[in-house]
């Protein structure tokens, strides 16, 4: 009997939960963070789920797995730390509900897991976790529209019922949340004991379940048995422990505290060889104990000392199921938010602007390097002809139907618009000329470019991203094949060469659409319509159209390849790559269009 062990009374945990539940008329959750305050989150959660608890809270997403396994798919498992970077898969796969603490987390969550349940934490003065006024004001409308499962905050001084901080935080919470229709939660164990005003729609006791203060009527949960190696006698003035952390003020007597633990676990009582330890501190803070100094008894003890850290003074009477648990090896799980000086809001704002700017420059720089690399590989052997041929077929030939339809309907609509718009100043006759110039100079290249961005960029990005995720890119390298040469160069070259042809086809079909509407619907003479078109168009118009096409094709394929190659891991990586590629291609095409238009037609 040389090591200690603890006994955990699960029935007492259930009884404590039920007692706390009875004090309110609202739903009662259970906090099982820090591995169930060191007692085994899975075991505790399972017992409480059987007793009727339907919501559980853990500190960080990694803890969610054990609880989810224990309680099954039904109950809600919420994560106080929210949606941290890298947690997306865990949260998604395990069906966890992150309690979002910041604008950054809200953005990340909506971006990575749209439609996935979440809660919101507000800061009402504790400065631990949660959004403050300014952030909450910025996201409240968007976030509430997505129906969070709970909007919560945490009390700093609930252990002391008379503390003015309680009423202050209650007031702030009301001001921040009054009028919203989603469930609200403010009270943990201490808040429940403060009374009905603090209960709102959900209470979430933690420490009270485990028999800790301030729940004075709790049943003891944990009993710790420690062998006594040696009994020491202390005179007044003698010191104890590392760094002389405690000094005896008087000689040892019966019923005096265990000295070595006094600073962290007090008060402590000793009777007849049983060390009875009344817990006033959080279970997560149990120190690593490698020796107890006990000056409580003058005579040697044969029986092991028994330390009961929960309220109550006996070490017997626990009739419940018992689980042996190696308490001393439990890690302290701490996850407090970082404290920053008062200028933090300003700094945070500047930091966000800075991070976004740097991120933007980084992407621009990477795309520039990628472009340079594409040209370098284009200029050097080997050249993959078969891949190039396939890309020509995929990008050029197979895009014809969508290009034709887009151009046909747009040309027709354009003719109608110009006719009815031109009628306002008696200029109906210019329909053929304006349709021709509008389609060839502007709408043909831009619409074909955007359709190619939708059709080709997305498929290139998704294909290459999938190859990256499934290690096919790595496989290419091991087979002595450079991915830039094999994947990027053929696609970019094919798109650049074939897009002028597609734009040319689009221009012609667009004019055809205008022609059909003009002659069939608006009563133009067929021969003079065509004659007007041909007479009016200049060589410059057509060349600009084809050059735009080549540039847009280059952009569309390059963005697909870049975002595909830069894809993150898993299915969400493929999705994000595809989205990023299409958005970037579309925006860059429109920007390039303005620049090229300026270059060709500025006077």
């Amino acid at each position: 009997m040389s090591t200690g062990h603890i006994t955990i009374d699960l029935d007492a945990i259930i009884a404590n939960w039920r007692a706390l539940d009875k004090m309110t008329s609202v739903e009662t959750a259970a906090v099982v963070k820090a591995d169930g305050y060191g007692l085994g989150a899975a075991t505790v959660a399972k017992a409480l789920a059987k007793a009727g608890a339907r919501r559980f809270f853990v500190a960080v997403a990694e803890e969610g797995g054990a609880v989810r396994n224990a309680v099954g798919p039904g109950p809600e498992v919420s994560v106080f730390a929210g949606h941290m970077r890298g947690d997306t898969d865990t949260i998604g796969d395990l069906g966890l509900t992150p309690i979002l603490n910041s604008l950054e987390q809200v953005t990340r969550h909506f971006d990575a897991l749209p439609g996935h349940p979440f809660g919101i934490q507000l800061d009402t003065g504790m400065n631990r976790l949660g959004m403050e006024w300014d952030e909450w004001a910025a996201v409240a409308e968007i976030a509430l529209a997505q129906r969070p499962t709970v909007v919560m905050s945490h009390l700093a001084c609930a252990d002391e019922p008379d503390h003015p901080m309680n009423a202050y935080q209650l007031d702030v919470f009301h001001k921040m949340t009054d009028g919203i229709t989603v469930p609200r939660s403010l009270a943990a164990t201490g808040g429940i004991l403060l009374g009905k005003d603090y209960h709102f729609d959900l209470c979430r006791p933690g420490i009270g379940l485990y028999g800790g203060l301030p729940f004075t009527k709790a049943r003891p949960v944990v009993q710790m048995d420690l062998p006594v190696v040696q009994i020491r006698h202390l005179d007044a003035g003698e010191v104890v422990g590392y760094a002389n952390s405690w000094q005896a003020t008087r000689p040892s007597r019966d019923r005096d505290p265990i000295s070595g633990l006094r600073r962290r676990l007090d008060p402590v009582d000793v009777r007849q060889g049983h060390a009875i330890l009344r817990q006033r501190t959080r279970a997560t803070y149990w120190p690593r104990v490698d020796g107890l100094t006990d000056r409580g008894c003058d005579r040697p003890q044969r029986r092991p000392a028994c330390v009961d850290p929960a309220w109550g003074s006996t070490n017997s009477g626990s009739t419940g199921r018992r689980v042996r648990h190696n308490w001393l090896r439990n890690p302290d799980v701490t996850w407090w938010a970082l404290y920053t000086p008062d200028t933090r809001r300003m700094k945070r704002l500047l930091a966000m602007i800075g991070a976004a700017t740097l991120g933007g420059f980084t992407t621009v720089g990477r795309i520039a390097l990628f472009t340079a690399s594409t040209f370098r590989h284009l200029a050097t052997q080997p050249f993959y002809g078969r891949e190039f041929g396939q890309a020509l077929f995929q990008i050029g030939f197979l895009s014809l139907p969508v290009v034709g339809l887009t151009a046909l309907f747009t040309g027709g609509a354009l003719a109608l618009q110009i006719y009815s718009g031109g009628a306002r100043f008696s200029a109906e006759a210019v329909v053929p000329q304006i349709v021709a110039i509008g389609m060839v100079r502007e709408l043909g290249p831009v619409l074909v470019g955007l359709m190619i961005a939708a059709r080709v960029t997305s498929s290139i990005a998704a294909e290459i991203a999938t190859m990256k995720v499934t290690e096919q890119i790595d496989a290419l390298v091991t087979l002595s094949t450079h991915p830039m040469k094999y994947l990027t160069v053929p696609r970019v070259l094919a798109a650049t060469l074939v897009m002028p042809a597609l734009v040319g086809v689009g221009d012609i079909i667009g004019i055809l659409g205008g022609y059909i509407v003009g002659t069939e619907r608006l009563g133009f003479n067929a021969a003079s319509y065509l004659q007007n078109t041909v007479d009016f168009l200049e060589q410059r118009d057509v060349i600009s159209s084809l050059v735009k096409g080549a540039v847009f094709g280059f952009i569309a394929a390059l963005m697909g390849c870049y975002y595909g190659m830069a894809a993150g891991r898993g299915a969400s990586g493929v999705g994000a790559a595809t989205k990023g590629a299409v958005v970037a291609a579309a925006v860059l095409i429109l920007v390039a269009n303005l620049i090229l238009t300026e270059a060709f037609f500025s006077i």
Binding site: E62, P382, Y384, Q390, T466, M467, T470, E471, Q472, D474, A475, L476, V477, T478, L479, S480, T481
Partner: protein, 246 residues
């Protein structure tokens, strides 16, 4: 044949490899074991040149290839990837002979060569014209193996060769790997956490944990060792020096 000394690699704040020393002799089969997320894949990718290590030295056949020079060696490598990593857009035979497609040999010859390699891994010639997506996981694994050995490499890497296979198929793949590497006289490095692979494939075993080689020895010594890390790994126990929350 292959010597690693002091290889370190860090991703962000995560030090995956913290100084790995390893040596494999020509024609030997080394199996690297270790828990999920202990850097086994990163190690193999450092050797093959897909990842550049932060520090340390990699010497392959007398050449220092740590920071460059892999390109010239790649034709002597073969690799079987965890999920096979076959190219979806190409039929099976082009996958198998991918490396030779641009060598100037006629496509007919290459197709015959592919059929020969497929036969070696137990697949009939009818498979050659199918696409990878039409094959089962076990057959994809065989095709991946055929691709890895197609150019008669001197060094073959196997990344979790039995991942996702049932025990029977895993046994078949293990035996194939052992037979083929032995008859080719190739040097093999396999990473796995499947103990059946270890016993079927290994001459040498290295256990990697916490970014360093915890244990290295002959396969015969594996069952005699009293190294706590190895024992926990072999028995699959939740208690021991290796944490279970990784």
């Amino acid at each position: 044949m292959i010597t690693l000394s002091g290889i370190t690699k860090t991703f962000g704040y995560n030090a995956v490899l913290r100084g790995v020393d390893l040596h494999v002799d020509k024609g030997q089969s080394l199996v690297v074991i270790g828990g999920s997320g202990t850097g086994k894949s990163v190690l193999i990718k450092c050797i093959i040149g897909l990842i550049t290590p932060d520090a340390g030295q990699i010497i392959i056949d007398g050449q220092d290839v740590t920071r460059s020079g892999h390109d010239k060696l790649l034709h002597r490598f073969g690799m079987l990837f965890q999920a096979s990593a076959l190219f979806d857009s190409l039929p099976v035979w082009e996958n198998v002979c991918f490396r030779m497609l641009r060598s100037g040999q006629s496509r007919g010859d290459l197709r015959d060569l592919a059929a020969e390699k497929l036969r070696r891994v137990g697949l009939g010639p009818d498979v050659a014209d199918k696409f990878p997506a039409e094959l089962s996981g076990g057959m994809q694994k065989r095709v991946g193996l055929a691709r890895a050995i197609a150019a008669d490499p001197e060094i073959i890497f196997f990344d979790e060769p039995t991942a996702g296979l049932d025990p029977i198929l895993a046994g078949v793949i293990n035996d194939l790997i052992r037979e083929i590497t032995t008859e080719m006289g190739a040097t093999a490095i396999t990473i796995t956490h499947d103990m059946s692979s270890v016993h079927a494939i290994a001459d040498q075993v290295a256990m990697i944990h916490d970014g360093v080689v915890q244990w290295h020895g002959n396969i015969g010594a594996l069952d005699q060792t009293d190294d706590a890390h190895v024992l926990q790994f072999i028995t699959g126990s939740a208690t021991g020096p290796i944490p279970t929350l990784r």
